[in-house]
Assembly symmetry: C2
Homo-oligomer: 366 residues x 2
DNA sequence: CTGTTAGCGCATTCAT
DNA sequence: ATGAATGCGCTAACAG
């Protein structure tokens, strides 16, 4: 019925107090305090008039909003949507509004959103799946142009985040660090190494890897951790069995299809070089890879075993169960929220995942 | 380096014009216009100073923000995250900021968010998975208390949305209508009926249904559409083979487990009444149900066939492929955004899904 | 402890 | 066509 929203001054007038008092009563000012009976009267009339503050006005007066920006590559990806759920829950508790940006893997959008968050004076911003220049460890040199572009993009992003932070905003990244900014780090290399050792222990020897795209540190770290551990075990993976694909379900499908095609033709010459197990650097890729195996008329794990990384929730429903490295996404997203909001002073220790063996890698004993 | 954001007045001063002129030059006022050379000068200095407007200030001056509110039950659910992706894409095109609320199935949060959107003067709000009082058609009477609560909740939600709309905000719901508010409707009953007829055609006769919870119209409509079509085909489903569960993956798992347990014990007495096929009212429930079948040591479709509804993306990776009713979620979420933004005058025709038969329901011919 | 006042950054009305 | 002035709703100095 009532069209125009109720304002604070209406409440104040109605309650017979000044604007300032009403504000303090409702908001509980840090410095000043309000007599109990007055506060009660204000609160009561506010309730009666169904008052609630205008966030824009508060933002202007305070110089900061109560918005929490969340940046993900693709909200439809279970990995990111799980993170989003955790962040949303934490934000709700803190009374913050979540503003979402699904960048669809575009560095430009990522950057634009960070800058928007700054001028909007968002309280904090959380970056999941952030980028970073790939370490040298990444197998296969990249063209100088590509490295150049990646560096430029990473630099711009870091610069924007730093500016945001200097303007008083909180920042946290999930996955791996961007510059020296706060991060809930995932020990990707360590987890992948653990996985490699475990798979080796249960008997696998001929490995393939579905690596991610250049420019994604997370992917690069997992790849190098995996390959490094195998090399130490005296079980190196030939370059030709490391196939790049995008960090998505379809990327996994394509990479696996390519690998299968290549090894099929090679099989005639020397059967020995067919990977008996393939590690995809994340679960959505692994799931796509499993589909590719099925599409090729083969079966997991009979013809080829598969392992992933992350342990996304939807894995409960894939069959056979996918061996992976469990990352506690819920905890991590909550931790990132706390970190971004300055609830924790220091950067927490890197999260090291836990290897979870399932039916997709039964081992070679049987 | 520069800490404080650049303001319009700084740009104006720097360009040697008044605040008003700068505003008009940058924003292109509706009524007034600006001389070309001046405008160019303003634009140039704005660019040079890296000016960008403060959304809160604009919101206050204009009386409306450029925020688009999105309400979903659970952002981690693939159904909703797909919708979110579509809405995010459309919003990006429109230059709007998406504010997300993952209500975790809480009517109170839903309501709170709608009210927040009003206070915040959001441009529009999109409600996915909205509630509604279940139609009488729903099998099994509900306790009067429950009906009462549901009605109260639905009424409050509709009231809040209507108020928001009267205050100038755009509204669209996805799924089924809330009152007379704009909606991109899904013909749930029709689609479920089509599915029932198709399954009947390929030979199935003994059906079970994993129905949703009371209070969810979408679930109720699908259930009644399915049961109604079967009744017309002379193939009614006994009440005992209609099991309720929550509208989630776990709900499907539990309901299927319950159904299997019940029929297992009943099987001793009369084998005939074991459902040969079970329809879960959405895909995530169906996927949970398939897991339950596996957990019981049985197999799909050999021991029991399964069908779902929605055709969520992640279905590509379940095996065997799940028969379902395909709903074009991408189109729908874009349509809903247009509708909420008033880009379309009239409510579009209800979307009727398309039955997609896959390996989970091979039929009884073989 | 309470009230008065001055902006926050911008769009817009009114004069010019 | 341009500029000066007003106010959006609220918080935070400043007085009392």
């Amino acid at each position: 019925m009532s069209d125009a929203p109720v304002t604070l001054s209406q409440v104040a007038r109605e309650a017979g107090v000044s604007l300032a008092t009403a504000s303090r009563a409702i908001n509980g000012s840090a410095t000043r305090s309000v007599r109990a009976d007055l506060r009660e009267r204000v609160l009561e009339t506010a309730r009666r008039l169904d008052y609630s503050p205008d966030p824009s006005a508060q933002a202007m007066a305070r110089g900061r909003t109560s918005a929490l920006g969340l940046v993900v590559h693709d909200i439809a990806d279970p990995y990111f949507s799980t993170i989003a759920a955790g962040v949303a829950r934490a934000a709700e508790r803190e009374g913050l509004i979540v503003t979402l940006s699904s960048t669809e893997h575009s560095p430009e959008r990522e950057l634009a959103f960070v800058e928007l968050a700054r001028r909007q004076r968002s309280r904090a911003i959380i970056l999941a799946g952030s980028r970073g220049v790939p370490p040298e460890a990444l197998p296969g040199k990249l063209p100088a142009e590509v490295v150049d572009r990646l560096q430029r993009e990473a630099g711009a992003l870091e610069q924007a985040l730093t500016t945001f932070q200097q303007a008083g905003g909180g920042v946290a990244t999930i996955g791996q660090a961007v510059g020296r900014l706060p991060v809930v780090e995932i020990d990707n290399a360590g987890g992948a190494g653990d996985l490699a050792r475990e798979l080796h222990r249960i008997g696998y020897r001929r490995f393939g890897v579905l690596a991610g795209p250049p420019g994604l540190r997370t992917a690069a770290d997992r790849t190098s951790g995996f390959l490094g551990a195998l090399a130490e075990l005296g079980c190196p993976v030939p370059d030709r069995d490391v196939v790049r694909g995008s960090f998505t379900r379809d990327g996994g499908h394509e990479a696996m299809t390519a690998l299968l095609g290549r090894t099929a033709s090679a099989a005639a010459a020397s059967e020995e070089r067919t990977p008996e197990i393939v590690f995809a650097v994340n679960d959505v890729m692994a799931v796509g890879a499993m589909a590719a195996v099925r599409d090729a008329g083969l079966s997991v794990p009979h013809d080829v075993a598969v392992a992933g990384f992350d342990d996304i929730h939807t894995l409960r429903d894939v069959s056979p169960g996918l061996t992976t490295v469990r990352i506690p996404l819920d905890e991590i997203s909550e931790a990132a929220t706390s970190l971004a909001l300055g609830r924790k002073d220091e950067t927490p220790a890197p999260v090291r995942g836990e290897v979870v063996l399932r039916d997709s890698t039964p081992g070679t004993a049987g």
